[in-house]
C-alpha cells in the first residue's frame, strides 16, 4: 500500500511532503521518544507520533520512512514542514489518538514489516 492509497482510504490531511506520496509503506511504529524510534522503527514504516518539530523529519529520513502521522490533532511547526517538503517525507494529520489509528492501520493490513 502506498501513502497515497492510505490517504484516500482514511481521508487524512497532508500537511507537508506532498512529493513523497508514492512511497510504499512497510509496517508501522508508534512512539514519541525520538531515540527509541531512531533505534527501533522498521525501515520504510509509517510512524505515528504527537511530536511536531523538525527532528521528526530527521528521524524519518534516517529510517527511510514512508510517512509520519501527527495524531491527536497536533500540527507540525514551520521548520518541520520545510524539512519534510525538502526531504519529500509526507506529514499527515489524524484528529484522534495514536492508539485508534494504529488499530485501524492494523486492520487494513499494515502489519509486521518485511525486514527486521
Amino acid at each position: 500500500m502506498t501513502v497515497s492509497d492510505l490517504i484516500d482510504q482514511l481521508k487524512l490531511e497532508v500537511a507537508a511532503g506532498v512529493s513523497g506520496l508514492d512511497r510504499e509503506i512497510n509496517g508501522g511504529y508508534c512512539g514519541d521518544l525520538l531515540s527509541d524510534v531512531m533505534g527501533n522503527a522498521p525501515m520504510g514504516c509509517i510512524w505515528l507520533t504527537i511530536q511536531g518539530h523538525q527532528n521528526i523529519v530527521a528521524v524519518a529520513h534516517l529510517r527511510d520512512m514512508a510517512a509520519i502521522v501527527l495524531a491527536a490533532g497536533r500540527a507540525p511547526d514551520k521548520a518541520c514542514v520545510q524539512k519534510a517538503d525538502a526531504k519529500s517525507i509526507p506529514v499527515l494529520l489524524w484528529p484522534g489518538p495514536c492508539f485508534e489509528l494504529a488499530g485501524r492501520l492494523t486492520s487494513m493490513g499494515i502489519a509486521e514489516s518485511k525486514d527486521p
Partner: protein
C-alpha cells in the same frame, strides 16, 4: 567532597593484580563498539557494558576494546566490528548484551 581515596585505589590494584597478570598478552583481537547517536539510541552502551563485564572475568589477554563513532549503517545498530589478525573484519549487526556474550564465547 568525595573522591576515590588512595585506599580505594590500592584495593582495586590488589583485587586486579592477579587477573591482570593472567591477561597480559599480545593484542590479536580488536573489538570496536560503535557509539554514534544511532548506536547509543539502539542500546550500544549496554552491549559495551556486557563486553567489559565478560572480559573482566575472563583470561583473554589478547582482546582490546575500543569505541568509535558511527559506522554509517544506522539501520543495523548496535554494530560491533571484530578485527582478528589474519582475518577479514566482521561487522556484527543488531547486537544486544546477550548476543555480545555469545560472540565472545565463540571467539
Amino acid at each position: 567532597m568525595a573522591k576515590l581515596t588512595i585506599d580505594d585505589l590500592k584495593k582495586i590494584k590488589e583485587k586486579t593484580a592477579r587477573s591482570m597478570a593472567v591477561r597480559e598478552g599480545e593484542a590479536n583481537v580488536k573489538i570496536t563498539v560503535h557509539m554514534g547517536t544511532c548506536g547509543i539510541a539502539a542500546g550500544a552502551r549496554d552491549v559495551m557494558g556486557a563486553l567489559l563485564e565478560e572480559l573482566s572475568q575472563s583470561d583473554r589477554g589478547d582482546i582490546r576494546v575500543f569505541n568509535s563513532g558511527c559506522l554509517g549503517m544506522c539501520s543495523s545498530e548496535p554494530n560491533v566490528t571484530v578485527e582478528s589478525v589474519d582475518q577479514e573484519p566482521i561487522v556484527y549487526q543488531h547486537m544486544d548484551p546477550h548476543k555480545m556474550r555469545q560472540v565472545l564465547k565463540n571467539m
